[in-house]
């Protein structure tokens, strides 16, 4: 990885680097990326996932916690011209 690429990546990652850091990271990352080349030998597969074990989203069961009387709500709510009146924003 050359120094220009390091500067570009650092801009994307919102990092300010000194010239000294740029040259050090360029050398380190070049070193590291060269070891990633072995992956080109690995066979490809369509069968892969984002997690190492199956994960599925489970939603909580809907549960009625309170059921207020609508008539009482209308009576006790602060209203004006048929609208609910909320607190001032400013």
């Amino acid at each position: 990885m050359d120094e220009e690429t390091v500067r570009k990546v650092a801009r994307v990652a919102r990092l300010d680097l000194t010239d000294e850091e740029v040259s050090k990271y360029a050398a380190d990352l070049e070193d590291i990326l060269s070891t990633f080349e072995v992956l080109d030998e690995a066979p490809s597969t369509e069968d892969f996932d984002l997690d190492p074990v199956p994960v599925e989203d489970r939603l909580r069961d809907d549960e009625v916690l309170a059921y207020p009387d609508p008539a009482r709500l209308r009576r006790e709510m602060r209203t004006a011209d048929g609208w609910v009146r909320g607190p001032r924003l400013t």
Binding site: R14, L29, F36, V38, S44, V53, D57
Partner: protein
Amino acid sequence: MNGAELAAAVRRADVGYQVFAERLEDPIAYEGDHAFHFSTKDNLCSIDFQTRSGSRILEGYRPPFDATAIERLRKAGGLLIGKTNMDEFGFGSFSTNSAIGVPRNPFDLERCCGGSSGGAAAAASLIEDHLAVGVSTGGSISCPASFCGVVGLTPTYGRVSRWGLIDYGTSLDKVGLLSASSAPIRRYLPVISGPDPLDPTSQTQPPLDMSGGIDSVAVPEEMVADLSDDMRDAFQEAVGKLEGMGVEVLKVAMPALRYALPAYYILATAEASTNMARYCGMRYGDIVEDTDLGFNELFSSVRSRGLGSETKRRILLGTFCRMVGLRDRYYIKALQVRQLVIRQYEEAFQGADAVLTPTMPYVAPRFDEIETMTALEAYHADILTVPPNLAGLPHISLPCAYIGGMPAGMQLAAPHWKEGRLLSLAERWESEFQYRIPEGRT
């Protein structure tokens, strides 16, 4: 142990070995309702201490809640005595990449504890009857357990809720336990395990089965080829002891494991680079008064001052691997390779109950040796711990030898969700092999 004895042990571990990022001050009220004492790595949120994850950028951050693992241990009667030192956000294998404190090895002050849960392993080693909560992404429980001569269990990915964990690699992070022997881990793993509505990855797990055993192990030849001579001899001796205990040892070939280290560093840094985006001075991170700066300049300034050099290196690497045109070559390929590695383990488990390797290629290095390592050499330290972590498999590191007075560990990996069989083998091993207690404990 009473409160005064615990306070003395905690003070000794902190003053002598820099174990804690923050801890209870003397005297410690350890009595009555408390069944046990525990510490957690500093990347798990807790109410009564700062949570800085080894980073300057989180200085002063006090979470308003407990991580699920901490909450469950407190409910079981545990007293949280402190937060343990670690590599910044988990980025390291020696706990030297910390802005808060670098823990020292209980067996030799000139040597590291391993990482990134280094303080946790040292606490488990130095404080009697202590339970240390650690976190592993690519080996951060096994590595320090091996270097500090303690037992470290990393459960299956998804077994323990990660609610309240400061993320490193979202598809890799696992909360686990370290202790001087396997008994406390057997007792408290069921406490922290189980589904948690606050963490979707914990929701699909089968019930924790603490039964099962190990009658046969597979030793992958590729993974023991590059050991130092003394480590190879020590490992062979441990294998001999296992055979003496009636465990069948099979030599196998697992060629796909050679892809594990690069695939891990791609996934871990790609995920970390997105997780680190939140440290920009808005919600987290030091807020600067200089309002003349535009957003990009403000973010860059906060991050450049607050993040350490290894963190920047991993953010650069991860950002690069996710860039347009490179995503398929690196990130997607690494996901595919993870699947190959999982399949390779599944094949091995058809012939054996667990896969056995040494935990680390060497004993704890000295601080002066670590200073002269290149980044690549440091990453290479994880060669044996990364494969089961990448595959999300439960694994345990057990002390198995002492080389020149320094502990060395062996690591067993079991199929997904089979933590019980690892702990059964650990108990059998402990009846045959005596763990040493470091001088610093007394």
